[in-house]
């Protein structure tokens, strides 16, 4: 049989059959329904929905805030990963475990808690208010929520790469008179660059689809603080299934492009790793 290589182990038919059937029923068929629902629209209608002023406004916020959040996480994710891998300080292990909190914490909880902290009278919001910085119910709040929920991706992508940086190489460079910044630019950065970019892309991917934490802090004003997933929900609540499906397909296409980018980045990282090992 050319489909699979022979093996003495049993159960291929059962497990492979169950896997593909269940996958088709729960994931593939429903996604096909989405694409077909959008495909059943007249092309002009589809174009009208996905390029309406309100939709364009929501893309601007969703993508702008997600890019900004991923950039913030690129910087702080690196700093946190560096701190956790290079330095020993009291509570390091607890902090390390807490990094995954946004994975485990339900988004609705993150949403109401962030809104409370950054509202005008909140713990942090009250100090930002006199400075003229409004967080809750503005795009700043949206960015903040997206930063929180996508932060673990950035840290966890960089951490293993930092552990792989050869310390003896750094030591050798410094012994030969290289400055710290030079070592960072020529040894550390090239090693962790693929991981940094992967973390950035993963953060962005997570942020762009986020709904739960954002709707509490956003204020949800059309054209101003309305993200694309919320616009989809509004279409659904008006029983405009086709409009919702059209916007859903736009987001799906973007997810695929991002997923492809992640795979390419990871392949690039592996190739560099193999080259470095030789």
């Amino acid at each position: 049989m050319s489909f699979r290589q022979p093996s003495v182990l049993p159960g291929f038919g059962l497990t492979f059959g169950f896997t593909t059937c269940f996958l088709s029923a729960i994931v593939l068929l429903p996604l096909a329904a989405l694409v077909l629902a959008a495909g059943s629209m007249h092309f002009s209608d589809l174009l009208r929905v996905v390029t309406s002023a309100r939709a364009l406004g929501s893309y601007r916020l969703s993508f702008g805030a997600s890019l900004l959040a991923a950039s913030i996480n690129l910087v702080f994710g690196f700093i946190i990963a560096w701190t956790l891998t290079r330095y020993e300080f009291p509570g390091r292990k607890v902090i390390d475990a807490l990094i995954d909190m946004p994975f485990a914490l339900p988004t609705a909880v993150s949403g109401i808690a962030l809104t409370t902290v950054f509202a005008q009278n909140g713990w942090i919001g009250r100090y930002l208010e006199p400075l003229g910085i409004k967080v809750a119910y503005t795009w700043v709040g949206v960015t903040l929520a997206l930063t929180l929920i996508s932060m673990p991706f950035a840290v966890r992508a960089v951490q293993p790469a930092l552990l792989e940086v050869q310390r003896d190489l750094e030591d050798a460079a410094e012994t030969l008179g290289a400055g710290r910044l030079y070592v960072f630019r020529r040894i550390i950065l090239p090693t962790v660059l693929p991981a940094l970019l992967t973390g950035f892309t993963l953060s962005f991917a997570r942020a762009v689809g986020e709904y739960g934490s954002v709707i509490f802090i956003a204020g949800n004003l059309p054209m101003k603080t309305e993200i694309t997933p919320l616009l989809i929900v509004i279409h659904l609540e008006e029983f405009d299934y086709q409009g919702a499906a059209a916007l859903g397909v736009v987001m799906l296409v973007i997810s695929f492009v991002v997923l492809l980018t992640i795979n390419l980045l990871q392949a690039w990282g592996r190739r560099r790793h193999v080259r470095a090992a030789h």
């Binding site: 050319s2 489909f3 699979r4 290589q5 093996s7 003495v8 182990l9 049993p10 059962l14 497990t15 169950f18 896997t19 593909t20 729960i26 994931v27 429903p30 996604l31 329904a33 702080f76 701190t83 902090i95 475990a97 807490l98 990094i99 995954d100 909190m101 994975f103 485990a104 914490l105 339900p106 988004t107 609705a108 909880v109 993150s110 109401i112 962030l114 409370t116 902290v117 713990w123 293993p160 310390r167 030591d171 410094e174 070592v183 689809g209 986020e210 709904y211 739960g212 509490f216 989809i232 929900v233 659904l236 029983f239 299934y241 499906a245 859903g248 987001m251 799906l252 991002v258 997923l259």
Partner: protein, 288 residues
């Protein structure tokens, strides 16, 4: 040479990562920045949950769970997780067995498809079931004629939750089983053990920590899912409101003690999840 001890000492001082004051400053700058960032975006919100939940005292906190709608939301969330987690666990085991134990064409495509729900917005994960089973959906009319409801009812909530938590167990087990190899299973089969016996006596004990890891993460996401469930639930109080959805309703009604009391339970669940995860990692099971 007289100068050599002093020179050696200076060299010793400049050893990277050691005593130079530059390194000390950079080190504390990094630690301070990390802690400040985490305190603002993570620790402050976590503390707020409990401060707000107990803002009017312990009695008010406990009283908020006496609300029948809150109790119903907790029951619904537990019920959903009790169905979804075992189903996705069975799926994860089957997928990992097929993918890790055999070589076949299209394997990488299959792995990508299993991971697909992770890349999809939760709103879309819920919407696909509305498109299929909603009143104006593909099977809407048929379902109505047969007096069945999926969307705005329990089955829809379970389907949407199953969709978003679909990859969690599988993506933990597949790399683990690939890494552990097939030698022991092949020996067991060659010595005459049956397939099921090999699975239960050889494979399952080998992958048990990966399984626990995946199930705990799957459970956390199942109990906490908001977007996908929100789209299919219909928000019927006492009937189709899960805990995260109930938080939204209470919060929008300015019942902050109630909202944060439910949130505190989910926060404790998240903390418990992290503790189990850390303990599992300590057994030597590492994420890749």
């Amino acid at each position: 040479m007289a100068a050599s001890p002093a020179g050696a000492l200076a060299g010793e001082d400049r050893r990277p990562g050691q005593h130079s004051w530059m390194h000390t400053i950079v080190r504390w700058l990094f630690i301070a920045t990390s802690l400040a960032f985490l305190a603002a975006v993570l620790l402050a919100p976590l503390a707020t949950v409990f401060v707000m939940a107990f803002a009017k005292g312990v009695d008010a906190y406990l009283h908020s769970f006496a609300d029948p709608d809150t109790a119903a939301a907790i029951r619904l969330t537990l019920l959903t997780a009790a169905v979804v987690v075992p189903v996705n666990t069975v799926f994860g085991l089957a997928a990992a067995w097929a993918i890790a134990k055999f070589e076949f064409r299209g394997k990488s495509v299959l792995i990508t498809l299993i991971d697909l729900p992770l890349a999809i917005s939760p709103v879309i994960s819920g919407m696909v079931f509305v498109l299929l089973f909603g009143l104006h959906g593909w099977f809407g009319v048929w379902l109505q004629e047969h007096d069945l409801s999926i969307v705005f009812a329990l089955p829809g909530i379970m389907l949407a939750t199953m969709f978003v938590t679909f990859p969690y167990v599988a993506r933990e087990l597949i790399p683990l089983m690939q890494q552990l190899g097939n030698d022991e299973e092949e020996a067991a089969i060659t010595l005459g053990a049956g397939g099921w016996m090999t699975f239960f006596r050889v494979t399952l004990p080998k992958v048990r920590w990966g399984l626990v890891y995946g199930m705990v993460l799957c459970n956390a996401r199942a109990m906490g899912e908001f977007g996908a469930v929100s789209v299919v639930s219909g928000h019927i109080r006492g009937l189709t409101n899960t805990m995260p959805l109930h938080i939204e309703i209470l919060y929008n009604e300015y019942n902050f003690v109630g909202a944060f009391a439910v949130a505190s339970l989910l926060t404790l669940l998240a903390a418990l999840t992290l503790i189990v995860k850390t303990l599992v990692e300590r057994t030597g099971y590492r994420r890749r």
